[in-house]
C-alpha cells in the first residue's frame, strides 16, 4: 500500500500539470471554434457597409456595363438588391404559408398520438427529411413544380423546396412545445365539453404560441440564406417579380450572380451583410422569445 502512496505523491505534479494543460487546450480550441463567426461578420461589415443605403434596398441591380463604368471611375456601384429582397420575401412567405399549417397540425397529431405506429413513423420520416440536403429538395421541386406545373423556373417551385426544408423543423418544435403543456390544462377544457378543434385553437396553440413562434422563426432563418435549391427552381430575375409562376430572384441568388460577374463582385459583401443581418435578427428574436417563456 505504501508503495502506491509514494507513486501517488510522485505523479501529483505531472497530473496537476496535465489537468491545467487540458483546460488551457479546451479554452484555446473553443476560442478557435468561435473565431470564424467573428471574422466573417467583421469581413462583411468592413467590406460591405459603404454600399448599404436606401438605394441598395429600393433599387434593382445595375447591368454589368453600368457597374463597370462606376468601377472604372472609382465610384460605388449604383443600384441595389430590391428584386432579391422582394423575391426572398415572396418565397419565404409562400413557403411559410405551406409549411406552417402542415407542420403545426402534424406536430399536434404527434403530440396527441404518442406511441401510435403512424405517429412514430411520421416522426422518424420527418427526422430523416430534416437531414435531406437542400440541393436534393431543389431537384424535387424542379421535378414536381418547374416541369409539370409552372412550365419553367418559378417562385412557386422555390417556395416548395424551402417549405419541405422548414416542415420537419416546425413539426419537431411544435411537438416539443406541446409536450411541455401540463396535461391538466387540456383536460380541464375537454371536461367542459369544448369541441376538440376549439381546444386546439383556443387552448393548445395559444398556450404554446411562443414556443411555436420560436420554431417557426428558426425555420425561416434557416431557409433565408438557402442558395442551392433556388438555383434549380427560382433561377433568378433582374426585375422585381411578384408572379409566383415566373422566375424570381432572391438575395442569395443575387450574391451568387454578383460573385460570378467581375464587374459586380463588389456587391457580394453588402448583400451578404444584409442577408446575415436578417438571419441573425431572426435568430436573436427567436432566442429572446424562447428565453422569455422559460
Amino acid at each position: 500500500m505504501s508503495s502506491s502512496a509514494n507513486l501517488m505523491v510522485d505523479n501529483l505534479g505531472r497530473r496537476t500539470l496535465k489537468d491545467k494543460f487540458y483546460k488551457v487546450l479546451v479554452v484555446v480550441l473553443s476560442i478557435v471554434t468561435i473565431s470564424p463567426i467573428v471574422l466573417i461578420i467583421y469581413e462583411l461589415i468592413v467590406k460591405g457597409y459603404r454600399q448599404i443605403s436606401f438605394d441598395f434596398i429600393l433599387k434593382t441591380p445595375p447591368d454589368t456595363f453600368e457597374a463597370m463604368t462606376a468601377l472604372s471611375s472609382g465610384e460605388l456601384i449604383p443600384g441595389g438588391i430590391a428584386n432579391g429582397l422582394t423575391g426572398t420575401l415572396l418565397m419565404v412567405v409562400l413557403a411559410s404559408v405551406i409549411a406552417i399549417p402542415v407542420g403545426v397540425i402534424t406536430g399536434i397529431y404527434l403530440y396527441e398520438n404518442p406511441g401510435k405506429f403512424l405517429a412514430n413513423l411520421t416522426r422518424n420520416v420527418s427526422d430523416v427529411l430534416q437531414g435531406v440536403p437542400s440541393i436534393v429538395l431543389g431537384l424535387i421541386a424542379y421535378m414536381w413544380i418547374v416541369k409539370p406545373i409552372t412550365n419553367g423556373f418559378s417562385a412557386l417551385a422555390g417556395s416548395v423546396s424551402l417549405s419541405i426544408m422548414m416542415l420537419p423543423m416546425i413539426v419537431r418544435s411544435t411537438e416539443e412545445t406541446l409536450k411541455m403543456i401540463p396535461q391538466t390544462i387540456k383536460e380541464a377544457a375537454l371536461a367542459l365539453g369544448v369541441p376538440y378543434y376549439k381546444v386546439i385553437l383556443r387552448v393548445l396553440i395559444p398556450t404554446s404560441f411562443s414556443g411555436l413562434l420560436t420554431g417557426i422563426l428558426l425555420g425561416i432563418s434557416r431557409v433565408l440564406g438557402e442558395t442551392a435549391p433556388l438555383m434549380l427552381t427560382a433561377l433568378g430575375s433582374t426585375m422585381i417579380n411578384l408572379d409566383i409562376t415566373k422566375p424570381t430572384s432572391a438575395v442569395p441568388l443575387l450574391i451568387w450572380e454578383f460573385y460570378n460577374d467581375p464587374n459586380m463582385v463588389d456587391l457580394i459583401w453588402s448583400s451578404s451583410l444584409l442577408l446575415m443581418a436578417m438571419v441573425l435578427a431572426l435568430n436573436l428574436i427567436s432566442k429572446r422569445i424562447a428565453a422569455r417563456t422559460k
Binding site: 500500500m1 502506491s4 501517488m8 505523479n11 501529483l12 497530473r15 496537476t16
Partner: protein, 260 residues
Amino acid sequence: MNDNSVTIKDPVLSIRNLCVSYDKGKYAVDNVSADIKRNAVTAIMGPSGCGKSTMLRAINRMHELYENIETKGNLILNGKDITDMPTIQLRRKVGMVFQRPNPFPTMSIYDNVIAGYKLNGIRLKKSERDDIVERSLSDVTLWEEVKDTLHKKGSFLSGGQQQRLCIARALAFDPEVILLDEPTSALDPVATSKIEDLLVKLKENYSILMVTHNMSQAARISDYSMFMYLGELVEYGKTKDMFTRPKDRRTEEYLTGKFG
C-alpha cells in the same frame, strides 16, 4: 465540555473551527470543532438542512468543485494538517460514499473497485489488482455474490449491492477515514441492515464518520454521535450517553421526535 464525552485520545481526524457558507455571512456549518475517534463509527445526526452533509462534504473538500461556497477552518488527519493539501492528494486519504449508490455505469464491477487507481494514473500489476479487488469486495461481503460476474457492468446489481460496491471502491484505496453521507437512505430495510452490519465490522480496520437521517440507525451502530442543528454542533458524545441522557434541550427534543 463534559466528563463523559468528547475527550478523544489520538483522534484520527480533528475538525477545528470549520465554517461553510453558501451565501456570504450565512453559515451552513458554523464554527464546528470535534475530534473523531479512531476505529469507531461516529454518526452525525440532525434535522434536514442542519448542515450535517455540508460538514461531511467539507472534510473531503467537495465544495471546491463549486463556486461561491466558502470554507474556513482547519482539518488535521492523523496529526497532519491537511487544510491546504492538494485535493487530489487529500481525497485519496479520505474515502467518501454518497447518498445514492453511484457506481460508474460505464465500468465493470472489477474496474469500479480499482477505479481510484485508474483515475489516479497508478499502474498496478494484474496480480496486485486482483488482490485489491478481492480484498475490497470481501471487506464489503460482496465477493461471493459477484465473483463470477466481475467483468459485467455494476449497474445491474441491486441497490444494496451497488452501495456495497461503492464502499468497496472507497476501501480499495485504503483511506485513513471513510465518510458516508446517508448511505442507506435510498435502500430497502434488508439492504440497510446489511450495510449496517458491514459498517460495524469495518470499524475494526477503518475509522468511519457517517451522516444519518435515521436516529435509530445511529443508536444501533455508532459509538459516538454528534447532533447538529442550524449549522451548529449542539452536542457530541458517546452514543449511549446521548440517547439516554441528552444534555441539551434541543437534542432531547430531536431524540424524542419533537422535530426532525
